[in-house]
């Protein structure tokens, strides 16, 4: 009962919030509702017993990602209302509705099967964090490390793309080459 109420509450709220994210003309509203929706999603995780995941969701999304977005928003000076040309609403909502319909039908199918054995079963007695830790650092150690590399890549990318060095472009600058030539001549 408690679970049901929570589920429906979270469902309605997330859907509404994400709708706002998607439909709002104001970046601020959109972002705020996105953040709120993400918080609520962590609620789902908690209901589902994925406590650690819920925490990560809160920290990474609501903490890191949203902070990034807000900094970006400030940089872009996008607090005012955004004018967007709307792409054929019929097409957009048709496609959205269609995909919702098909996905819902798909998920309404009897996917769940008793026969399926968990390969990495949970151990409720030990707690979610421990479970996750063990699997993550054994089975999924490699993806974990690769994710680290990925984050490194993202970091480097973020740094160099946003860096000052990008303000001048050698790509279209003919004089750069002349300098090289001069240097070579000097040698």
């Amino acid at each position: 009962m408690y679970e049901q109420i929570a589920f429906y509450l979270f469902s309605v709220l997330t859907v509404t919030l994400f709708l706002i994210t998607v439909m709002s003309k104001n970046v601020l509203y959109a972002m705020t509702s996105l953040a709120a929706g993400m918080v609520l999603i962590s609620g789902f995780f908690f209901i589902l017993g994925a406590d650690f995941l819920g925490v990560v969701q809160l920290i990474v999304y609501v903490g890191a990602v949203m902070a990034l977005y807000s900094f970006a928003m400030m940089f872009f000076d996008a607090t005012r209302n955004i004018k967007e040309k709307s792409t054929h609403p019929a097409l957009v909502f048709g496609l959205g509705g269609m995909s919702a319909l098909v996905l819902v039908m798909m998920f309404a199918a009897p996917l769940y099967s008793e026969k399926i054995q968990a390969f990495y079963p949970m151990h409720p007695e030990a707690g979610n964090a421990q479970d996750v830790g063990i699997v993550l650092f054994t089975k999924y150690l490699i993806p974990f490390e690769v994710a680290a590399v990925m984050l490194l890549v993202a970091m480097i990318a973020g740094i160099i793309l946003a860096g000052k060095k990008m303000d001048v472009s050698f790509t279209q600058d003919l004089s750069v080459d002349d300098e090289i030539m001069k240097q070579k001549d000097a040698k």
Binding site: T87, L91, L95, M98, S99, V102, L103, M105, M106
Partner: protein, 631 residues
Amino acid sequence: MESLVYIALFAPFVSSLFAALFGMSPRKTFVGAIASLLLFVSLSASMMLAYHVYQTGESVHITMMDWIHMGDLYIPFGFNVDQVSVTMMNVVTLVSTVVHIYSIGYMDHDKSFNRFFSYLSAFVFSMMVLVMSDNFAGLFIGWEGVGVCSWLLIGFWYHKPDLTREENPSISPSWAANEAFIMNRIADLGMLIGLFIIYWNVGSLQYDAVFAAIPHLTDVILSTAAIALFIGAMGKSAQFPLHTWLTDAMEGPTPVSALIHAATMVTAGVFLVIRVHPLFSVTPEVSYFIAALGTFVAFFAASMALVNRDLKRIIAFSTLSQLGYMFAAAGLGAYWIALFHLAAHAFFKALLFLGAGNVMHAMHDELDIFKMGGLKKSMKATYIYMGLASLALAGIPPLAGFFSKDAIIETAFNEGTLILWVMLVVTAGMTAFYSFRQVFLTFEGDERYKEFGIHPHEMYKFVLVAMSPLAILAVIAGFFRESFNAFVTHLLPGYEMSEHTHHLALILGAIVFAFAVGGILLAYKKYAKGLKRSEKVENSFIYRLLANQYYIPNLYEEFISKPYAMISEMMWKGVDLKIVDTTVDGIAKFLYRSGDGTRKMQTGNLSNYLNWMAIGGVLLLVVAMISAMIG
């Protein structure tokens, strides 16, 4: 004997090559002389061969080398000198020798003198191949060879421009040459088909093999083969409906007309029928058709000759008519008579043409007999020659024509084909009339040429001398009828008149004679005193019909040439460019245009790209759903 065969065959070839060496140089008389000499060599060899064949009664057969050997088809270059071919060889070489010598005089002023001899000798060579070959393929070589030489020689004065049909009925020499070649080609196709039929049913194209196989073949095969071969003969011998080229061929120099279009090449068709007599003699329907067609052409051509004003065309029509006679004889089974008439005709017709050539030479190439008259003063020898030849042609005894033509008419009677007989007899009368109409209009009466400021003069002496053998033969050839009969019937089936005919021979002869003399007299009455033209007659339907050759050339032009050109144009512009090519280009253009169309999906707008992606994904999902639901 083999070397004689080679000499007879290749002397003209050497002559042609020799003359060709000088083909592009200015006139050199010695070219003509050497060519004539070589032709004379060929004539001598032919005569010696004739003597040999006559003596031994055996034919000389040689196989020079292989020509085509593929699959089962084996064709050698083989030559066979037997009674028939040796006759032809003699006729051909004799007339050509005379014509060669004649041409030295006639072509005197022509800048292409050397070239002319080259062509002329080449023609003789082809003709020799034609008559001497021992197989159908060799015959066909000669057959086509003479066709090409004829094309070259008709178009000899190729530089003349095209005129309208009113100005010149044959438009231009080059036009006439092409016409002749193409018409012959039509017939040649028939001949080729004949060869194919024979090959696939006999397995060989050698005469002896084919003749030996004839008894084993069915009637249908024999008849189709005979018809196909005869179609070939029709083209070369200008039988209706492929006859129009012959009169147009008169655009060529006159010696050419004498040699090719009177004495030799046009008789190749008759020769073919005689050569292949074992085939024709077992296909009576085809033979009868040949006879009937021959008779018809004899009459038909003679009718056109009645009103023609062109000196050479009249002779050409008369050639046509005489060819009809020959076919009539051959068709009726009297092969030796046909061959005899062929030989006799060659002599007097060549003589006639050469005489006409003299006249032309004198008249500066004027050919309209209405513009001549009274030439006998300046050209006595020619008058005699032409008169003799015309008499022979008209069948006045004791000249050659009488013996040969009379025999044909008699044959028609003998075979009981009275209609043919009647037509032939009437034609004989017409022949006499138009021959003498021409002779009288040319040589007798008022001197109409003076209006045109022409000063006629007689031909060179040596030319006249050279013509004399023909004249002599035209006179005396008839007397050799029986020995000729005996000679050739070694090979050809004999033909004897029935008792009944034999009894009536005199009466029949008298009837023909009466017609002939009647014709001459009529001509004399009308034309000997000079030309009296009658508007009424000339405007009459029949006159115009005859003068325009029954409008057949016009018909051909309107219903064959022009539509062909039109359809060709349509095929090109309408079908080839508009349909076939446009389809091909259309496919290419369609692809290109659809490229222009589809590249529009690449708007450059990210939102659209995302839409496409979503459309793709969602569409696939929908398809997945539907197909999962269907099962």
